[in-house]
């Protein structure tokens, strides 16, 4: 275990939903948590299986995706250090409705269900943070839903690129998106066919808004991308 051996000293301590949790409960979580490392491509959990707790990302990147009825992947969330996952199914009392896969090597702590639930019951501050988190996710989902129903793919792709930027930021050069996603994954984030995503990315490249170098995507003109995304809010 590296420097995140304890929750108290974890780099994400005040960056996650646990920021408002009382110290005593953080200590309890620290004692019972199980840390693990996942390699790029490894599955944390699969749609349809039962949740036994929640996961807290210490380092790394995760994608959460649904399997559509015809087997097509729909990526519904991108997660990073400090993010918590697995709580939706647990709180609903459902099985997982999405699968979680590591987008890069990831260090993650597992918090058992019983502990999580009991702390949630005893710590109204954490419960409130949790409700806020759920509300924010719901908000995001509703906005995305509206955009899926109403905006053309070009705008949605631009929006998605900006969203990736917001989520994972840039590499040291200040322009390259700091995550490795295939064209197919980008398409499954936008909600379109892979070919369409590829075609529009080339268009953006031709228009000078982005630069493509294999999986590396550089955002050259953020302002024009924002315009292409046609964002009002």
């Amino acid at each position: 275990m590296s420097d995140h051996a304890t929750c108290q000293s974890c780099s994400q301590r005040f960056n996650s939903v646990f920021c408002k949790a009382k110290e005593e409960f953080v200590n309890q979580i620290n004692e019972q948590k199980i840390c693990n490392t996942y390699k790029r491509g490894q599955i944390l959990f699969n749609e349809g299986s039962y949740p036994f707790g929640v996961y807290c990302i210490n380092e790394g990147k995760i994608k959460l995706s649904h399997q559509g009825d015809d087997g097509k992947e729909q990526i519904i969330r991108l997660l990073k250090a400090g993010d918590v996952l697995g709580y939706r199914a647990l709180l609903s009392g459902d099985r997982y409705s999405a699968s979680a896969v590591a987008l890069e090597d990831t260090q993650i702590c597992f918090i058992p269900k019983d502990l999580f639930v009991s702390v949630l019951k005893l710590d109204p501050g954490l419960a409130f943070e949790m409700m806020k988190l759920l509300s924010d996710e719901l908000h995001r989902a509703e906005i995305k839903l509206t955009h899926l129903a109403q905006k053309p793919i070009r705008e949605r792709l631009a929006e998605t690129l900006l969203f990736i930027k917001e989520t994972y930021g840039f590499e040291e050069d200040g322009t390259t998106l700091n995550v490795r996603l295939s064209r197919e994954e980008i398409a499954n984030l936008v909600g379109t066919a892979t070919e369409s995503a590829i075609r529009l990315l080339s268009e953006f490249k031709k228009d000078g808004m982005v630069e493509l170098d294999g999986k590396k995507i550089k955002i050259l003109k953020t302002k024009e991308l924002i315009k292409a995304a046609n964002i009002q809010d």
Copy 2:
């Protein structure tokens, strides 16, 4: 005030998220709640305004909708007696991200923000129900999102009709959907153009799955509709 003059005796007492709230808090809510009647078409609150509390429907039907960037309505939820609304914005600390409009004459109680929040802090049972509610909504939104991205309009319309049936049920005849929605509203629920919704409804009619009589929609063959919706889960 009719028979719902008190929360304790409200017909929705054990039908809403407040089912798990402690009796003492229900009494508090009862003292501070404000009951109101809205006529069909009246607005409860508007996207962009600030929430001052939550609403609990005693009787009636409400639609919740976003305004898309180009002004097009996207209906994101249909609500009925026992449902609570307005909590999303309140818990996020945001302004309303959707507008609420009565689909028929509706009786609704307003619970002030401070009371709601303080009860939520003191009653872990209610807090848990609230988290469950949010998780369920999030789940629904994510499923809808996937379907919007991946399913053709015909399937989505069939699904929407089934959803309306689940939500509002039938009139006494056992076949007529028990809500008055315009074709445009159905389209805004499906996420398509009004003409497309009209066209496909006629198709369903031609196929003998539904019967159309003005705004009244009768579901004749539920099984075939389910097949048309291509539902796996």
